[in-house]
């Protein structure tokens, strides 16, 4: 009975040792992976910063202005003016003819004064 107990505990110790060994190597592997990922993230962030800077540089108003001027024939873009910016009810649609009531009973010239 006693010898069985000894064998079992010896096997348990060996098993635990194997498990600890395995776990140790897995941890080191995971740390290496984390290192690699951190470096990767760092590089990507750097690349992102460069791209953002480049985006800002390519979209600088001066360059856009030049591009608009170069492509004026195709785009015909002009600065926004107040006339292009309003509400629909501010537009002066042509007045319907029936809205104008005229009673002309003498022979004088009629001069319309439409806004």
């Amino acid at each position: 009975m006693k010898s069985v107990l000894y064998v079992l505990s010896a096997m348990a110790v060996m098993g635990l040792a194997f498990w600890a060994y395995n776990e140790n190597y897995q941890t080191q592997q995971a740390l290496k992976e984390v290192d690699r990922l951190q470096r990767d993230i760092g590089e990507r962030r750097e690349a992102l910063a460069v791209l953002r800077a480049e985006w800002a540089y390519l979209n600088r108003p001066e360059r856009l202005n030049d591009l608009v001027n170069m492509n004026f024939e195709r785009l015909s873009l002009l600065p926004l003016t107040p006339e292009q910016f309003g509400r629909v009810d501010q537009l002066s649609y042509p007045v319907a003819p029936e809205a104008v009531t005229l009673e002309i009973d003498n022979s004088v010239a009629v001069q319309g004064d439409q806004p």
Partner: protein, 595 residues
């Protein structure tokens, strides 16, 4: 444990037989027992002390060993933990109010040399001089062959230049990583941003420090890793700034001006939406300040903030507003405006020696820009109250704007506020302030009468400042300024749909030797729009402008600064999201006319 009896029977009996005192035996035994007990408890106590001292020794040894280990070992980032607030860059970005980048960092390399490990010094010097035209081959070779062990060659390299240096293939030419500051928009907001340069430099990195403008004013914020890379949000709007700069540049050329400045401010919050000073510079390549000549002629000079000049008639509205606030006059009160006015040895004249008098309403004093009218009103107000009012509006102190240059731009005025100062200050002479002061003053007076502080930072909401003038006075002043544009000196300022109101100001430039130039002016136009419910204040100031389109050069603000301001408003108002106010369309009228 066998307990020895204190009076063992055998010894007692023997003692009794021999006639000895048996109590002596008991006493002797008691003594022995006590001694034994004492020895035992001492042994126990000593054991406890030993255990305790071993425990303390181990604890202190552990702490000591850990401290030693921490001190001796190389610092290491915690690797197993997920990254929290990572340091993204050495210096945070600066963005405009919509998040568009005004300043950011770029990774680049610096070039240094270690002459002792160089292979072919002559060839390296020759090749370097070929790649970088500003380097001199002879000087380089001298440096390389001298006793120096280390020298910097370039602080920043482009990737192409780096490759070219690589191709030289000399092991003594080495690169150090660098973060450099980049302003992708070039000259656009040069005076606001300022610029940056390297501080302490090492091989592996260099400090980037702000040298002027916002970069210097917020140096600590931008470099604070605790912000986690959060950008600094300015109140500037990139597209508005572009439009203002473009129009102002055109206006400056058209009006033959030496320089120009513009400030566009949100009238309610004091946020500066655009601020331009021309001529300007490229902050990527900041010029060195000139050591000779007038610093005001340098492109580094920020006219909008540092340009402290007499602002002329734009000050008149403050005089009339204070007079109305004190209840001395109303908008339609007739005041004495009989020119010229004699005061002591001084004579106060109107522009071009005109006489608008003998009596003018307060509104017409503003509309015709009558010096005599405001002078009389100022005398009624009195110097003490006038000075106090101007102090409330911030005209006697440097502006609190977040630029490192701002505290140096102190308004200039006589320390002794005499009666003649009262008279001249009422129409903007004898007191010099910057366009930014004027923008803040106009905003405070005309936004309903609450004080605003100029700021370059984006604020989502701003608490209402203390009251400067009553709402009625503010409204009446706006009405007067509107009339200046509809029927007064600023008739070129009309912009259909935006109800521009404003006041012109023309002041002669002071000579350095004293006195004033006859033919050099500072022309200022201070405008608000739309004047019925103002949203923005615009100040345009032009240095030595003259309109030469007719036979005689016209140097008044009405001919120079006003048309430029009108064009700025026309361009900028739609960008700011202001819808034009369109007059009501009347029903079609038919008129009968006879032929």
């Amino acid at each position: 444990m066998i307990r020895t009896p204190l009076r063992p029977l055998a010894r007692i009996l023997r003692a009794r037989e021999t006639g000895e005192n048996p109590d002596a035996i008991e006493a002797e035994n008691l003594r022995l027992r006590h001694e034994e007990m004492r020895d035992k408890s001492r042994f126990q106590a000593e054991g406890r002390l030993l255990v305790l001292s071993v425990f303390f020794f181990c604890a202190f040894a552990l702490v000591g060993a850990r401290m030693g280990l921490l001190a001796a070992s190389e610092a290491e980032e915690p690797r197993a933990r997920a990254t929290g607030a990572a340091i993204l860059a050495q210096r945070a970005d600066i963005t405009d109010r919509n998040g568009r980048i005004l300043a950011t960092n770029l990774f680049t390399n610096s070039l240094y040399a270690q002459p002792p490990i160089m292979v072919d010094k002559a060839r390296a010097a020759r090749e370097l001089a070929r790649i970088f035209p500003e380097l001199d081959e002879k000087e380089l070779l001298e440096d390389f062959s001298g006793s120096r062990k280390f020298l910097w060659i370039r602080k920043k390299l482009s990737p192409e230049q780096k490759q070219a240096v690589h191709d030289i293939g000399d092991p003594g030419l080495l690169f150090g990583p660098r973060e450099m500051r980049l302003y992708p928009n070039g000259k656009l907001a040069a005076h606001i941003l300022g610029g940056a340069s390297f501080g302490r430099e090492g091989v592996h990195s260099a400090e980037v420090i702000g040298v002027a403008g916002v970069e210097k004013a917020f140096d600590d914020f931008l470099r604070d890793p605790a912000n986690g890379g959060r950008p600094l949000e300015l109140s500037i709007d990139l597209s508005v700034q572009t439009a203002v700069r473009q129009v102002l540049y055109g206006g400056m050329k058209l009006m033959n001006a030496k320089g120009a400045a513009a400030v566009l401010m949100n009238i309610h919050t004091g946020e500066i939406v655009a601020m331009v000073s021309l001529p300007d510079f490229d902050p990527n390549d900041r010029p060195t300040p000139a050591l000779t000549g007038d610093p005001a002629d340098s492109p580094l000079f920020n006219r909008a903030v540092q340009g402290v000049y007499e602002l002329g008639s734009t000050f008149k509205i403050f005089t009339t507003a204070q007079s109305m606030e004190l209840g001395l006059t109303k908008a339609n009160t007739m005041v004495d405006a009989d020119a010229p006015m004699k005061w002591g040895r001084f004579t106060i004249r109107e522009f071009d020696n005109k006489n608008y008098g003998p009596k003018l309403s307060v509104t017409d004093v503003i509309v015709h820009s009558s010096n005599v009218g405001t002078a009389r009103m100022a005398m009624e107000i009195g110097g003490v109250r006038q000075k106090e009012f101007l102090r409330t509006l911030g005209f006697l102190e440097p502006t609190p704007v977040e630029l490192v240059e701002a505290p140096g731009a102190k308004p200039i005025y006589h320390s002794n506020w005499s009666e003649i100062t009262t008279i001249t200050a009422s129409y903007g002479h004898g007191i010099a302030a910057s366009p930014l002061h004027l923008a803040a003053g106009y905003s405070s007076l005309l936004n309903g009468g609450t004080l605003v502080k100029p700021t370059l930072l984006r604020h989502d909401s701003v608490a209402l400042g203390p009251r400067v003038v009553s709402r009625e006075v503010s409204t009446a002043s706006r009405d007067m300024l509107r009339q200046v544009v509809t029927r007064g000196t600023a008739s070129f300022g009309r912009v259909p749909g935006y109800e521009v109101g404003g006041k012109t100001g023309t002041a002669n430039k002071p000579k350095h030797t004293g006195g004033y130039y006859e033919d050099k002016n500072i022309n200022t136009f201070a405008a608000i729009f739309p004047s019925s419910d103002p949203e923005y204040t615009l100040i345009i100031s032009m240095d030595e402008a003259s309109d030469n389109s007719s036979d005689k050069p016209r140097r008044t603000a009405g001919w120079t600064a006003v048309p430029v301001a009108a064009e700025v408003i026309r361009r900028v108002a739609p960008l700011l999201g202001l819808r034009p106010i369109i007059e009501e369309i009347k029903a079609p009228e038919v008129t009968l006319t006879s032929n």
